[in-house]
């Protein structure tokens, strides 16, 4: 067993568990960040440099910050951290989670793949990655670019505060019961 990988995996799992258990939501997100960092380290351990750095950049640099901003904008720190005690909910949740884990474990330990040994050197050149992105996968990449643009604009539009137009306010006021009383 690889010592480095064991440490990374334990940190990643522990911080992921902490992320869904802690009471303070900001602590949750910070633990989640640690978990993302652990995943990035796993990628590096698998000698996938580019993807590892992309993981750090996107998840730690952007997604976590986005989640934190959203938390602060919704005053999330005050809410209860778990569902209220409802045995049905809890049993379903834990049962589904642990059941999936069991199924996955059974699958993993019965798979033939687990005895595969890796190549000693893997040609993880950024050149190869770039070439295949612009060659084999050029259409998905273009689609992805469109998706990202749409997501950017859509998110900005969704999160923008709704401004009431001048004509609207009048109608709003007159339609309510507490509207101005006319002589």
């Amino acid at each position: 067993m690889n010592l480095l990988l064991t440490i990374i995996a334990l940190i990643t799992l522990a911080s992921a568990v902490a992320a869904i258990c802690l009471r303070n939501l900001v602590h949750c997100v910070l633990c989640l960040t640690l978990s993302f960092a652990g995943i990035a380290l796993t990628y590096l351990e698998l000698s996938a440099e580019f993807v590892g750095f992309a993981q750090v950049m996107v998840y730690i640099g952007a997604v976590t910050i986005l989640v934190l901003f959203a938390l602060l904008m919704t005053r999330g720190g005050k809410e209860l951290h778990l569902r209220s005690w409802n045995p049905g909910h809890w049993l379903t949740g834990l049962g589904a989670g642990l059941g999936t884990l069991g199924v996955l474990l059974v699958g993993i330990f019965h798979s033939k793949l687990r005895e595969v040994t890796p190549l000693d050197t893997k040609d993880e050149s950024v050149h190869a990655l770039g070439n295949s992105l612009l060659d084999t996968y050029v259409l998905p990449m273009e689609a992805l670019a469109v998706l990202l643009t749409v997501a950017l604009i859509g998110a900005a539009l969704l999160a923008m505060p709704e401004r009431s137009r001048p004509g609207q306010t009048f109608r709003k006021v007159s339609s309510t019961k507490e509207g101005p009383v006319k002589d």
Partner: protein
């Protein structure tokens, strides 16, 4: 030389942690974060399978991971924007209380 098993175990653990988080947390933002965790668990598998693939030229696994990361980022952006606009309307981020469409 190590084998594929630890990566698969890590991935399974992370996936189930994310799943339990989705099931049990009552804040929409943490739900989204848990979904991110599940996507990442899948990504670990992609990278691990790429590393253990016998061919040395094929980089499909990495390309998939890049796509997943991009889609996850877009998903997080749109999801959080939705949560914020929902919060503006209903003053809550608890998905249980957003039941106006219930029959």
């Amino acid at each position: 030389m190590h084998t594929l098993t630890p990566y698969l175990l890590l991935s399974a653990g992370l996936f189930c942690t994310g799943l339990i988080g989705v099931m049990l947390r009552r804040n929409a933002i943490i739900l989204l974060a848990s979904i991110e965790l599940m996507l990442n668990a899948a990504n670990i598998n992609f990278v691990a399978f790429w590393r253990f693939h016998p061919s040395s030229e094929d980089v499909s696994g990495l390309v998939m991971v890049l796509f997943t990361i991009a889609i996850a980022a877009a998903e997080a952006a749109v999801g959080l924007a939705l949560v914020i606009s929902i919060y503006r309307h209903y003053r809550t981020t608890n998905p249980d209380t957003l039941n106006e469409l219930k029959g």
